[in-house]
């Protein structure tokens, strides 16, 4: 790219200054002056109104504006303080635009680089300083200092190793690879904690469930962590219209199947149930799983089937888990052995 020396049209130089209306017409200038002072005078009025609203309007009062129910206090506090702030801004800009001198001025630019003399002086100073430090004669000072400075970062970094517990295989087995489900744990409704009876479920029905052991967890963190993995959905489908592989014949009771509710993609709770297609759709990223086919992925970014929980009924006819999940639930992680997940075509 070249700066053209001979431009086809020569630069005519700066344009003539044009006077504003307020420069040439005293009345217009006075009018602008009055407007600006008027705007500034509105500020104390609005501030008083703000104080009145703050101390005078009850918190639960409502304001209906264009059919919308607004919290009167919040809205009026905002309107008064917002308009007051706006007035200050508009007044300042009106002042600058119509009454302050609008003569443009021209300044010079200089290259970003320092003048060569300055650069040379600094280089000479650096040279003098380096010489004075003695680093040239005693070379180990430099390398020693650089090495020490580098190493002093090590304690700082290592101190961060306790940011969280280390996910060793043993810890993973206790945490992300384990849920509250175990043999004989009853499936209970996730809101009422009432146990689910197999005979109460209709074909086409979906129930959100959790293990009965969840309710007894007092600790808030353990409760959330437990729920984040153990949440399941229980569906009843017509056994003749679904595919049940031989290996999972006894994981269900009369077409009542249970799957992890936690998406195998990034862990959203999946909850959109398409009753007729037997598909379950995740509202976060639209991964879709076929519950009539062992939870295989039929659409979307999820790569693994929804883990199925083997269930049966106890002596009283309530649904219970036959065991825990056979694979870890939730999103993938590097150390996960994903060869055991159900794949289309498995028997």
């Amino acid at each position: 790219m070249s700066e053209q020396k001979n431009l086809p049209v020569p630069d005519p130089g700066l344009e003539e200054h044009e006077h504003r209306f307020t420069d040439v017409n005293e009345a217009a200038a006075d009018r602008a002056y009055r407007q600006i002072v008027g705007m500034l005078a509105a500020v104390p009025v609005l501030v008083l109104a703000f104080l009145f609203v703050y101390f005078g309007v009850p918190k639960d009062a409502e304001l209906v504006l264009f059919g919308a129910n607004l919290q009167m206090q919040t809205t009026l506090l905002g309107l008064t303080s917002g308009l007051a702030t706006l007035m200050i801004g508009v007044a300042a800009i009106a002042w600058a635009r119509s009454l302050m001198s609008d003569e443009e001025i021209v300044g010079e630019r200089h290259g970003a680089a320092s003048p060569p003399e300055a650069r040379e002086r600094v280089l000479a100073d650096l040279e003098t300083g380096i010489e004075a430090s003695g680093i040239r004669r005693r070379k180990l000072l430099g390398t020693g200092m650089a090495g020490a400075l580098g190493l002093i970062a090590v304690p700082a970094l290592v101190s961060l190793a306790d940011l969280g517990p280390w996910p060793t295989p043993a810890l993973r087995a206790e945490t992300i690879e384990r849920t509250l489900w175990a043999e004989g744990v009853r499936l209970v409704n996730d809101v009422s904690y009432l146990p689910l009876k197999a005979s109460d479920l209709e074909v086409g029905q979906l129930v959100n469930a959790v293990p009965e052991t969840l309710e007894k967890i007092e600790d808030g963190t353990a409760f959330q962590q437990g729920k984040a993995k153990a949440a399941i959905i229980v569906v009843r489908m017509d056994p003749n219209s679904i595919k049940i592989p031989d290996s999972r014949k006894d994981w269900q009771i009369n077409g009542i199947l249970s799957y992890s509710k936690i998406c195998t993609h990034v862990g959203c709770p999946i909850s959109l149930w398409e009753q007729q297609t037997h598909h379950l759709l995740c509202p976060c990223h639209q991964s879709t799983f076929d519950l009539a086919n062992s939870g295989v992925v039929v659409f979307g970014p999820a790569a693994r089937s929804l883990p199925q929980l083997p269930i049966t009924t106890d002596s009283e006819g309530y649904l219970v888990a036959r065991s825990g999940f056979t694979v870890p639930v939730g999103p993938s992680y590097f150390e996960r052995d994903s060869s055991k997940d159900f794949k289309e075509g498995d028997r």
Binding site: V9, A96, A228, P301
Partner: protein, 556 residues
């Protein structure tokens, strides 16, 4: 635009400058001397008449700066009551519908700010709106800088600082969005948990380190709080200071116009004009943000309820600036490797982690790549009109198109339900569109730029259309044109021509040579002196009646 000229004595502007009748010692002199003797005030303030050029597009960065100030002010107010704790409490505040619901202290204190502190909800909403505005203004400001070539030498470092600001601005926004611990923000955190896990080799370790164990744990909100109110704002503050310091040092770029060169700067002095204009603009931005906080509801967390890992709302969306990542996550095919007992989640890692890395890396290196292609080592203080850098403009629009497609894909469920089309087909369409639309955008933009260059050339040669149709004695019709001013003709012809790098000048690689030739190719050359003269003589049609000047030629 205007040239320094004599003011009429009647001008009010003169009144300001007229010394009072009895000059005496200035009222400022006393305190000013006191301060100067201690900190050398006069030296510090030697620049108060510094020149700043005027153009609406220069306000975009200001909006970002002011939003940041508003965020600091409103943020301090919110910290007075917010409790960054995940400890569970039984809600006992004044919002009846959630009475006695178990929730974290973070969510409970957010409800308290919203319902029990006068003005609390207002400030929360101002804070959220200005966060949206902060990222939006930074983005648009960056586009302005990109399309006008303001990132070129000597401003590359300031561009890099800007890219840093934008990237950590996203982190800041996301951290703040997560703090209230409502159902929506908890879902966002769950998503981030999945994202972190997906990092090959170290994902599980990173997850356990960030969340101090298994999701959700007890520490992530206190940690995000530290990130949100201390770490990132500190970084932002430092980077913004550096950004402003470099702006002052380089002096602002200006648009080409008569009299403006690479060696001067024309505009208004900082004091008093910009103090009033920029200061006033701060109050306007603040005022409008307050009004938005008062009138437009945002993030009504009490409707979502506390976070519950087994629930999610249909149509969950992140704040707008995370939409492109969300879209990429949604449309990527489900690629996952299962190798030797390990899982490689490309379906999450690529769109989630790698895409953001790609975006910010591409932004960061662009100025250096363009300079490498053009071999341009000179300083630039005059802005490019986007049409005069057609490839850059086309590349920028292609980038915007890709971003826009990903962003749209982030709402594929909303599109499907609102327009009653198949969700699956919307997703398949977006998978293709995200690659095809940017290519189309590139081609179309480049053609538009070149057409605009041609239109500029026509305007210089043949003048401005008058909308007056003239019938000649022999019955032909033509539109009368009037010549444009010399100033306008200068502005339309002064831009430097792109040259391909001379093939033998340096030892260039073949790629660089080819790229450089491609970059310079196709532009419409600015008219030469001869062409302009020829066009002027060509104006043989009868002069327009009533035209002011004799030489106002008419041509077609």
């Amino acid at each position: 635009m205007a040239k320094p000229a004599e003011l009429s004595p009647a001008s009010p502007a003169m009144e300001v400058r007229t010394p009072p009748k009895d000059p005496g010692p200035s009222k400022l002199a006393g305190p000013a001397t006191w301060v100067d003797e201690r900190i050398g005030l006069a030296k510090l303030m030697s620049n108060i008449r510094k020149v700043f050029p005027d153009h609406w597009s220069f306000l975009l960065g200001e909006i970002a700066l002011y939003s940041f100030v508003i965020l600091l002010l409103t943020g301090v107010f919110l910290t007075i009551w917010f409790k960054p704790s995940m400890a569970e409490v039984d809600y006992a505040g004044s919002y009846e519908l959630l009475r006695h619901v178990r929730m974290s202290e973070a969510f409970s204190s957010t409800l308290s700010i919203s319902f029990d502190i006068r003005g609390g909800l207002l400030v929360r909403q101002i804070h959220h709106w200005s966060a949206m505005l902060f990222v939006a203004a930074m983005t648009v400001h960056m586009l302005r800088v990109f399309f006008t070539g303001a990132f070129r030498k000597p401003r590359e470092l300031n561009w890099l600082i800007g890219v840093g600001l934008l990237s950590i601005g996203l982190v800041e926004g996301f951290a703040g969005y997560s703090l209230p611990d409502d159902l929506l923000s908890g879902t966002g955190l769950r998503f981030v948990d999945g994202l972190i896990r997906s990092i090959p080799l170290i994902g599980t370790w990173a997850e356990f380190f960030v969340f101090a164990g298994e999701f959700p744990g007890t520490l992530v909100i206190p940690r995000l709080y530290m990130v949100h109110i201390l770490l990132v704002p500190g970084l932002l503050l430092g980077l913004i200071s550096a950004h402003m310091a470099l702006l002052v040092y380089h002096k602002h770029t200006h648009w080409p116009a008569p009299g403006r060169t690479n060696h001067n700067i024309q505009g208004y002095p900082f004091f008093p004009i910009y103090v009033a204009k920029a200061g006033g603009f701060f109050f306007i931005v603040f005022g409008i943000t307050i009004l938005m906080g008062a009138l437009i509801q945002i993030n009504p967390v009490w409707l979502y309820g506390p976070y519950n890992p087994s629930q999610v709302t249909a149509g969950s969306q992140p704040d707008w600036y995370m939409g492109f990542v969300e879209g990429a996550i949604r449309i990527i095919p489900n690629w996952e490797w299962h190798v030797l007992g390990t899982t490689w989640s490309w379906n999450i890692f690529l769109p989630g982690v790698a895409l953001m890395g790609l975006l910010f890396t591409a932004l960061a290196v662009y100025p250096f790549i363009e300079a490498w292609i053009t071999g341009d080592k000179s300083e630039h203080h005059l802005l490019d009109r986007p049409r005069n850098a057609p490839n850059r403009t086309a590349f920028g629009v292609a980038g915007m198109a890709a971003y826009g497609m990903l962003w749209l894909a982030g709402g594929n469920d909303i599109i499907a339900t609102q327009f009653q089309v198949s969700l699956n087909n919307v997703t398949y369409f977006m998978r293709v569109a995200v690659f095809v639309v940017p290519v189309l955008a590139f081609i179309v933009t480049k053609r538009i730029c070149l057409s605009l260059q041609r239109a500029d050339k026509d305007r210089v040669l043949h003048g401005s259309e008058t909308n007056i149709i003239v019938r000649s004695p022999d019955g032909g019709y033509s539109e009368a044109h009037v010549p444009i001013s010399q100033g306008e003709a200068y502005s339309l012809t002064r831009h430097p021509q792109l040259d391909a790098l001379p093939p033998n000048g340096e030892k260039l690689g073949r790629t660089r040579q080819r790229l450089s030739r491609w970059y310079a190719d196709g532009q419409v050359p600015t008219p030469t002196v001869e062409e302009i003269e020829a066009a002027a003589h060509h104006s043989d049609a009868p002069a327009l009646e009533g035209s002011d000047t004799a030489e106002s030629g008419v041509s077609h």
